[in-house]
Amino acid sequence: MSEANVNSVYDILTKINDNTWELPGNFKPGMNVPGRIFVSKTLLDILEKETLDQVANVASLPGIQKYSMAMPDAHLGYGFPIGGVAAFDKDKGVISPGGVGFDINCGVRLIRSNLSEGDVRPKLPELLDALFEAIPSGVGSKSRIRVNDKELDDIFIHGVRWAVVNGYGVEADVSHCESNGTMPGADPSKVSIKARKRGRPQLGTLGSGNHFLEVQYVDKVYDEEAARAFGLKEGQVTFMIHCGSRGAGHQICTDHLQVLAQASKKYKITLPDKQLACAPAESEEAQDYFKAMICAANYAWVNRQVIMHWSREVFDRFFKDEFGDLGLDLVYDVAHNVAKLEKHTIDGEQKEVYVHRKGATRAFPAGHPEVPEDYRSIGQPVIIPGSMGTASYILKGCPAAMDITFGSACHGAGRVMSRKSAKHELSGEEIQKELKSQGIIVRATQPSLIAEEAPEVYKSSSDVVDVVHNLGIATKVARVLPMGVVKG
């Protein structure tokens, strides 16, 4: 980024504190509220100016509360920035598919084990091969299971509960998913035949892009009490799954975006970017989208659940004879592309708002009724995946999140380099070799896919996590390091 550009970002923003910057309400005409950018100076130096434009665009949507927000991993998206958080009044606000994204309920789950790094290391290459074999990945990947329309309805309505009833997992998995892996209010009649066609063959597939399955070990514990509650300790092997609602979610967003683009005109909402198409939250058009979005969100939880189930089978096959019960418990599953109706205290008054998190993770604190009972004295686990080959973090949601970010934190490292440049500048084979020399094995359908997701194309996950930690939104509990990655 050029010096001039860096200066311009500093010229535009007002510093509130070391990790909070304000985008003034007069930065662009039509803004209803100012913006808040939660970044350190290090991250601000690499923030694109266009991301601020997108924060300002979101600020112009009707009924937005307090601030249009950008989390520390924010970067340029389409419509909302990635890392964008915005809450809209239930009665006077809007719902916008652009505030959720095409990959509805893209999210992350973490699974712990009784295995130690030393137990797994000798068998790691074969384990990775077996996981790569068991979990379909890549463009257009299709699953081993095919569901019919009736089953798809059940998945849309019941989410993870469907999976458990059908033998993909155990009862305890349910309460360790955000929203118990089932957002209420799904209406499958709002899902098109096209979305169903795409959804039927893809349940239990990783997809492509930045999605992955990673075998890791806990290398550092920062918060003993919280780590104990989450069942994490140093040296322990974990695995992490990052993916979303696949073609079903993409199609649901595509279908409803078209409806809402027309609805925006009907309700005379001025859009600075058509990708921000929206309608009044209580309108039929907005509610139809919301009910279909919930179907996709529930599908995504089932998708991650099925992938976890097959991964558990692979781990059992490799280690059960030698080590007995592997204790492959789900620590937690978070959604980071979703809109939810939540209660928040705004200017001293409790209000119902549609919180849109697009590349942002819910971070509810201790005592919140949405936090699972066994974690309620600690806070919600907030899972922040690093880029390929770098550390991921487990944090806990804290009270400050409710005060300043509508209970939200970052969602990952955040890109700094385009896929195009990455492929041009980096060699997938060399990155694979470099990671191997660090003891990290990568399996992918294509070497170029490794280049696209190389550590160099992302911000540092530790810089990002430090911001939310220092703001007290979510504080560090443990750090996990990768041993092997199955890339989507």
Binding site: G77, G79, F102, V139, K274, S418, K420, Q446, L449
Partner: protein, 143 residues
């Protein structure tokens, strides 16, 4: 005019400009630009064909539907396309419509090398404009 399409910088997604002497040709090249994010369309044998007919309220919506429909057929029919032919394209204030044929073959992973998946078309920073030398389409697709 030179190239049929080119890619622009975008941190997370794929942004491109496609050109054509006619609007129909620009639509063809926009489709190829999107497909080439996923696979080298030069590696595709164009032995099968699929017809597409779409109508929308305005030209932006038609482009959005056009790209979305091609992604849908790609995924559901498991086909990849190497040549796109716009047979008819009508643009008026009342309605815009397109009738086109996609030429390609069934996906064969031993032949077609897949790259990043395009999740969806978007309206972000979409431009469709007539220039002295023809038409230019700018679009961003979610990857």
């Amino acid at each position: 005019m030179g190239k049929d399409f080119e890619y622009l910088e975008h941190t997370a997604d794929a942004k491109f400009r496609a050109y054509g002497k006619s609007l129909g040709e620009a639509f063809e090249n926009a489709a190829l630009a999107m497909l080439n994010v996923m696979v080298d369309t030069g590696s595709v044998k164009n032995t099968l064909s699929v017809n597409i007919k779409l109508a929308a309220n305005d030209i932006d919506s038609l482009l959005f539907d056009w790209l979305s429909e091609i992604l849908f057929v790609f995924e559901v029919d498991e086909m990849v396309f190497g040549r796109i032919k716009v047979n008819e394209l009508n643009v008026s204030d009342e309605e815009c419509s397109i009738y086109a044929t996609l030429f390609g073959e069934t996906i064969d992973h031993s032949v077609h090398v897949f790259d990043t998946e395009v999740k969806a078309a978007t309206y972000n920073d979409m431009i469709i404009e007539q220039r002295d030398e023809g038409w230019m389409i700018q679009a961003t697709v979610d990857t």
